[in-house]
């Protein structure tokens, strides 16, 4: 295969000037005409956002506590890497191979320094061949046409041309099954891969599939294996923490996230998770300071979401600082709030009703009929419950509690709900709701299947 690299735009990302020049020279030797530089993480993101290159050569060590791996994760998180764009990690450390062998999110390839222009060329040509092979599949996946994406993979799996990519095909199949919501099939696919070899990413996939099926004990067992065998696979710790939270083990979730967050101080997705675990664990100060760090330092445009601001407001309310909570909430523009979905609007109105009753109550009351009639995620339910208890709307509060205690999030939210009822002197009522939920469950279990 011969590819014309003169028309390709290269972006070299390296914080060391000499190394940058070296990468540029090599790129030019393979025929690259246009080679741009990015000198640091932010610069790289800016350049990629504004003018997507064809080929990214990114050094693994970017300085300032950031790594090329983190950049890659961030680019994928914000959907800034089109399928056609090649991301090649460049590293002097052989140990990066351990990362690639373990983690779920990998670059198109990595190359160890020093390397010749010819070797780079060979690697780039192979990546292009692989991208061409998967092009039709990528297109369907991007458009969320999962059934079609899976049927393409099925056909490829049995084709002669697919033989060199058989593991990649299996991996993509499992991933698409999981994204499309078929957690049972995803689990089977990941287990099928594990029969070949105990890949940490595949075992983590099993754990995520089990988590989605709410089989928490099994999910926890699987992810514990991954965490203990591959301590540098940090995302596995995030998965473990999420499972712990659903098991009601908030202290463990906070502890493991805290340890990893110290090693990855600029990973703000992980910090958000830490804040969530701290909130559930009742460590309001950690939740508040962690969210403050996120808001101040997650500088990617669009990174700070409405949910983040609501989290900050929540952390202030938890810390009994209603004035600061109100400040955060009123800083959100009305036009912005009107565009929220119902659950986010409900959280906003509830938190405002708690921090500033005269401002928030009317909005909260306006939403009441919708809140009684609609399925709402647990975080918003907790906010509604809290506001409702505060204004003495027992019906609304108890309905949220009954929902929370009868669903998959019961263990996750139990402590918070119980403490809210205690705060309003309604422990007995809480126990009664629990009893009713348990009775209903027994009746449901005893009803013969028809």
């Amino acid at each position: 295969m011969s590819i014309d690299f003169t028309k390709k735009r290269f972006l070299v990302i390296d914080d060391q000037p000499l190394a940058r020049d070296a990468l540029r020279s090599i790129a030019q030797t393979v025929g690259a005409f246009a080679v741009e530089f990015a000198t640091n993480y932010q610069d790289a993101i800016y350049r990629i956002r504004h003018n997507i290159p064809d080929i990214i050569l990114c050094d693994y060590v970017l300085g300032d506590g950031r790594s090329g791996q983190q950049l890659l994760e961030e680019l994928r998180r914000f959907n800034l890497l089109p399928d056609e764009c090649i991301f090649m990690m460049v590293t002097g450390e052989q140990s990066y191979e351990q990362v690639v062998a373990a983690v779920e999110l990998v670059p198109d390839d990595y190359i160890i320094k020093p390397f010749s222009p010819e070797k780079l060329l060979l690697r780039l040509e192979r990546i292009i061949a692989r991208k061409n092979f998967f092009a039709a599949y990528y297109k369907e996946k991007r458009q969320q046409e999962y059934a079609r994406a899976l049927s393409i993979l099925d056909a490829q799996r049995n084709s002669e041309a697919g033989r060199p990519y058989r593991f990649e095909i299996l991996r993509q199949q499992a991933e698409v099954l999981l994204i499309s919501g078929d957690a049972e099939s995803a689990e089977a696919s990941y287990r099928n891969i594990l029969e070949n070899y105990d890949f940490p990413w595949a075992r983590a996939g099993v754990a995520r599939s089990l988590h989605k099926q709410n089989r928490l004990t099994e999910a926890r067992e699987e992810i514990e294996q991954v965490v203990s065998k591959t301590p540098h696979f940090f995302d596995a710790v995030d998965i473990k923490a999420s499972i712990c939270m659903d098991q009601g083990e908030h202290a463990e979730a906070q502890k493991v996230l805290d340890e990893v967050a110290k090693k990855t101080p600029r990973n703000y997705l992980r910090k958000r998770l830490l804040a969530e675990a701290a909130t559930l664990n009742g460590d309001m100060e950690t939740a508040r300071s962690t969210m403050a760090d996120v808001i101040a330092n997650d500088t990617m445009p669009g990174a700070i979401s409405a949910e983040d601001r609501l989290n900050v407001a929540r952390s202030h309310i938890n810390g009994n600082d209603k004035i600061s909570a109100e400040k955060v909430l009123v800083s959100l523009r009305d036009s912005e709030v009107q565009n929220f979905d119902l659950a986010t609007q409900a959280s906003y109105a509830a938190l405002l009703a708690i921090s500033s009753p005269e401002r928030g109550k009317p909005r909260f009351a306006g939403l009441r009929p919708a809140l009684l009639a609609t399925e709402i995620p647990p975080t918003a339910r907790l906010d509604i419950l809290r506001a409702a208890l505060g204004i003495g709307d027992h019906e609304l509060a108890d309905k949220q509690t009954a929902h929370l205690m009868s669903g998959d999030d019961a263990k996750r939210t139990f402590n918070t709900v119980r403490s809210q009822y205690a705060l309003h002197g309604r422990e007995k009522d809480f126990r009664e709701i629990q009893r009713q939920v348990a009775l209903k469950r027994i009746q449901h279990d005893e009803t013969p299947a028809t």
Binding site: Q16, A22, G92, Q94, K113, P114
Partner: protein
């Protein structure tokens, strides 16, 4: 001991970065002045390989090295070894031929195995008269790599183990799958009549 390993790894890392700068300068000079400095670049890469191998040997001796198993396209790996060695061997009038019969992806540590095969080809070329052959095939579920030459063969069997062979033997052994482990086999009198270096990975 972990500290010593960190210091060594960091030193090797820095040295390899410097060697990369050197290689890129040579590549630029070749492009600008239409020179062929392939042997200079080969020497730079060989120096970097030695550094990596020494670090790997140290890790293996401390039994701290783990194989990073990934799916690998074996034909691509053989092509890379050929790319790295063929010109250097040709300068010594030795032909490097590659015979890869594996189409499917196989599971092993790409970087460690590539280094092992580069080293095996270099060793074979030191004694070969005119030809070195790298071949790869599947034997049941075992991936087999073989490097043979038309030289006089190993003077004794087993031959005295230098760093290269020691690393090769241990690297093979850290490849474990389904209760089996990799192995190294050295013999004489293969298809080309000389030494035969064979690695079997489960």
């Amino acid at each position: 001991m972990q500290d010593l390993l960190d210091i060594l790894a960091s030193g090797v890392h820095d040295a390899k970065n410097q060697l990369f700068v050197a290689e890129s300068l040579i590549a630029s000079a070749e492009l600008e002045r239409q020179l062929d400095l392939g042997e200079a670049r080969y020497a730079v890469e060989a120096a970097a390989e030695r550094l990596s191998r020494t670090l790997t040997a140290y890790r293996l001796l401390r039994q701290g090295e783990q194989a990073s198993i990934c799916p690998v396209i074996v034909a691509d790996l053989c092509a890379e070894v050929a790319l790295a060695q063929r010109r250097h061997l040709a300068a010594k009038h030795i032909r490097l031929s590659v015979d890869c019969q594996i189409v499917d992806e196989c599971l092993f540590d790409r970087d460690l195995v590539t280094d092992m095969l580069n080293n095996a080809v270099q060793n074979a070329a030191r004694f070969a008269r005119s030809e070195v052959r790298l071949s790869a095939w599947l034997d049941d579920e075992t991936t087999v790599f073989r490097v043979i030459d038309d030289g006089p063969g190993y003077a004794s069997l087993p031959p005295p183990f230098g760093i290269g062979l020691m690393v090769a033997e241990r690297l093979a052994a850290i490849h474990r799958r389904r209760g089996r482990r990799g192995s190294l086999h050295l013999s004489n009198g293969g298809l080309l009549g000389g030494a035969c270096f064979e690695v079997r990975l489960p």
